[in-house]
């Protein structure tokens, strides 16, 4: 484990990203909190990252995974496969 208490902006944003999925450790969160106290840019980044997460939450409710195989798709698969079967 990385024992360093003070972290860089790059490390802070990286922890912030992990935290969006609830996968930052307690120690990481403490370091991120401490860093953000003194760093306005990373604080802004965190706020915006949270907004992005919320947006993605809405996104997953609204999108239905680009569809299914159409009949044409299946005919195409069928044709290609039977071409190979005959060989």
């Amino acid at each position: 484990m990385n024992r360093k208490l003070l972290i860089s902006c790059e490390e802070a944003t990286s922890i912030c990203n992990k935290n969006q999925y609830g996968e930052a450790s307690m120690w990481d969160k403490i370091r991120l909190g401490l860093h953000s106290l003194g760093c306005v840019h990373c604080k802004t980044y965190s706020t915006q990252n949270n907004i992005l997460t919320k947006l993605m939450g809405n996104h997953s409710n609204s999108c239905s995974n680009s569809g299914h195989l159409t009949d044409e798709d299946k005919t195409e698969l069928e044709d290609n496969l039977s071409g190979k079967l005959k060989k």
């Binding site: 990286s14 999925y21 840019h41 992005l52 997953s60 995974n65 195989l69 798709d73 698969l77 079967l85």
Partner: protein
């Protein structure tokens, strides 16, 4: 003990029986209709070629899925090794006294006080979709699996044959790029 049933293969029925199943399996993971279709096609081809290796221990469907899984990993390997010009620009100084600090010109700008309130907006969703489209494929696939499909880190690592630290670097870059893209194309306007 009863004799385990010996499974057999019948390629003539593959499309009818498994095309949809395989396609659904693939589309969730690659989030692209044509690519998913191609992967299914290749799975059937490889299945045909490898029929002699089928020992009848697994069902036909399980056997085909295992081929498809391999195809997805192969595809991911391929795109993961491409260094395209769409590669994310760095936001932090790589060395010197400021190592790891925000580069001046890459600093996140304020999105305004009511940014939170503006998120229930159809146009913003379209802007976000476009930003996601613009992510390099290798980032998009991992980001979508993690964020939209809510896959566990370990699951994604297995599916795509990458390490956890690899995954977090990708998520890190994807989120940085998305943040930037939303700022440029939406909040600044």
């Amino acid at each position: 003990m009863s004799n385990p049933k010996k499974h057999t293969l019948d390629p003539n029925k593959w499309i009818v029986l498994y095309a949809d199943y395989l396609f659904n399996y693939a589309i969730v993971r690659v989030d692209d209709h044509d690519l998913a279709k191609d992967l299914v096609q290749e799975t059937f081809y490889s299945g045909l070629k490898g029929m002699a290796n089928f020992r009848g221990q697994a069902s036909e469907r399980t056997w085909l899925i295992s081929i498809l899984k391999r195809k997805i990993i192969d595809h991911y390997r391929k795109i993961n090794s491409i260094k395209g010009k769409k590669e994310v620009r760095v936001n932090f100084y790589a060395d010197g006294d400021n190592k790891g600090s925000w580069m001046e010109e890459r600093v996140p700008e304020s999105w305004g006080n009511n940014a939170e309130k503006k998120i229930e907006n159809e146009e913003l969703k379209t802007a976000l979709d476009e930003c996601i489209e613009n992510l390099p494929e290798k980032y998009r696939i991992v980001f979508m699996l993690k964020t939209v499909q809510n896959y566990e880190t370990e699951e994604i690592c297995n599916e795509l044959d990458i390490t956890a630290s690899n995954l977090w670097v990708i998520i890190h870059r994807a989120r940085q790029q998305l943040r930037r893209c939303l700022e440029d194309n939406w909040f600044k306007k």
